[in-house]
């Protein structure tokens, strides 16, 4: 596996806070969970109505999604298994090479 399979089960989730209360709730959630913010680059830049794309490790996906559901914050899974997406990206190359 690439990267020693470190991203197996990791997910990329898009969250769209629609109020300042939800922005604050997100910041609280992210303070306790290690998430890798893809967009925006830091929690300080999260804005009402702005998409937040975040990469969350497999051990935290359940906790994060439970927290989002509890807070009724709209979210969707963009990438359900990061490792397989990475493998797919490079897999394309090896198939090209074979061809």
């Amino acid at each position: 596996y690439l990267y020693n399979n470190r991203y197996a089960g990791d997910q990329v989730i898009r969250v769209t806070p629609v109020s300042n209360g939800e922005v604050e709730e997100l910041r609280r959630l992210f303070a306790n969970l290690t998430v890798d913010l893809w967009r925006p680059n830091s929690a300080a830049l999260i804005r009402e109505g702005g998409d937040v794309d975040l990469h969350v490790g497999r051990n935290h996906t359940r906790g994060l999604r439970a927290g989002l559901q509890r807070a009724h914050i709209r979210h969707k899974v963009l990438i359900s298994n990061l490792q397989s997406e990475i493998e797919k990206q490079t897999g394309y190359r090896s198939s090209r090479k074979r061809r």
Binding site: L37, R39, N41, S42, Q89
Partner: protein, 309 residues
């Protein structure tokens, strides 16, 4: 045999550097390759200068890619642009005119240490790989380390944050090397373009404040013409405008520094996509993304040859 290089896959740092040597070797009249310094881990910071060699004074365009390690589509674009410029010089009158009247300084990988780390260890690494005296965390955000409103809003002073501004401005050898080069060539560099991902935007100053730049009308129309040219390729829409209102406020950015340093046209591209794949933009989308962006960059460069009223 013709040098076989696949521009539609992502390449490691080593592959990109050997490609640069090959471009330099095979195009002696249009390419000059040199290093402007070394990274924190001691790797050379290579630049390709594109353009017909003449004794006369030429304006220049600076394009850097790979400031943030995980944004792989950036280095892919820089390689694509060089390929297009060299291959189309003979038959594309616009590109030939640009290469005859301008020089292009292309930096395919700005953050060489971080890019290599994103290939070997952490695919989503963003920062440089410099060490911090007091913390275990490594790296500085190379787009928060410039000497312009340094470490103010939109940057973090904590070494473990992804937007860490560094211990002092230009603390990163990579940033210092590019700043030194652009300061030295400030009279001739008329456009600064930094390639990032993702969001599908074309941004111009200011990032660090909500204010209008003095030459707004010229820059705004250049940006509008560029996104129109980009759209003409595949109908992909890019938003454009001042970074502070179009994306978010951030201080210490290279684009603001370039503008403050006297470069009248400073832009940052946020290439595809808007989040479906994010940093994992598939290799199948390298071609259309780079094709449309090349049209936009050619439009910006062509605008430099005309006088803006």
């Amino acid at each position: 045999s013709e040098f076989q290089y696949d521009y539609e896959v992502y390449h490691s740092l080593e592959e990109i550097q050997s490609w640069m040597y090959e471009m330099n070797r095979t195009h002696p009249h249009l390419v000059d390759m040199f290093s402007i310094g070394r990274s924190f881990e001691g790797r050379p910071l290579y630049i390709l200068q594109l353009g017909k060699r003449t004794r006369s004074y030429k304006k220049a365009v600076w394009i850097d890619c790979g400031v943030h390690a995980r944004e792989w589509i950036g280095p892919a674009f820089c390689q694509w642009f060089v390929k297009e410029a060299l291959h189309s010089y003979k038959y594309d009158s616009v590109m030939r005119r640009l290469m005859n009247q301008l020089n292009f300084y292309i930096m395919p990988v700005f953050n060489v240490d971080g890019y290599r780390y994103s290939w070997t260890t952490d695919r989503f690494w963003r920062k440089t790989r410099s060490k911090n005296a007091k913390y275990q965390c490594r790296g500085v955000d190379a787009n928060r380390n410039w000497k312009v409103k340094w470490c103010d809003e939109g940057a973090s002073s904590h070494p473990c944050d992804d937007t860490y501004c560094g211990p002092f401005p230009e603390s990163e050898p990579e940033v210092k090397a590019v700043a030194k080069f652009l300061r030295k060539h400030r009279k001739r560099v008329r456009a600064y373009i930094s390639i990032h991902a993702y969001a599908q935007m074309l941004l111009y100053p200011y990032s660090y404040k909500y204010a209008t730049i003095p030459n707004f009308s010229c820059v705004e129309s250049a940006a509008q013409n560029a996104v129109t040219a980009l759209y003409s390729a595949y109908g992909v829409r890019y938003r454009y405008g001042p970074a502070s209102t179009t994306l978010y406020v951030s201080s210490g950015s290279s684009m603001d520094w370039a503008y403050k340093n006297g470069i009248p046209y400073a832009f940052a591209f946020e290439l595809r996509d808007t989040g479906y794949f994010g940093f994992l933009l598939p290799e199948t989308l390298i071609n259309p993304t780079c094709t449309e962006t090349t049209r936009a960059v050619k439009t910006i460069a062509s605008g430099l040859l005309k006088k803006c009223p």
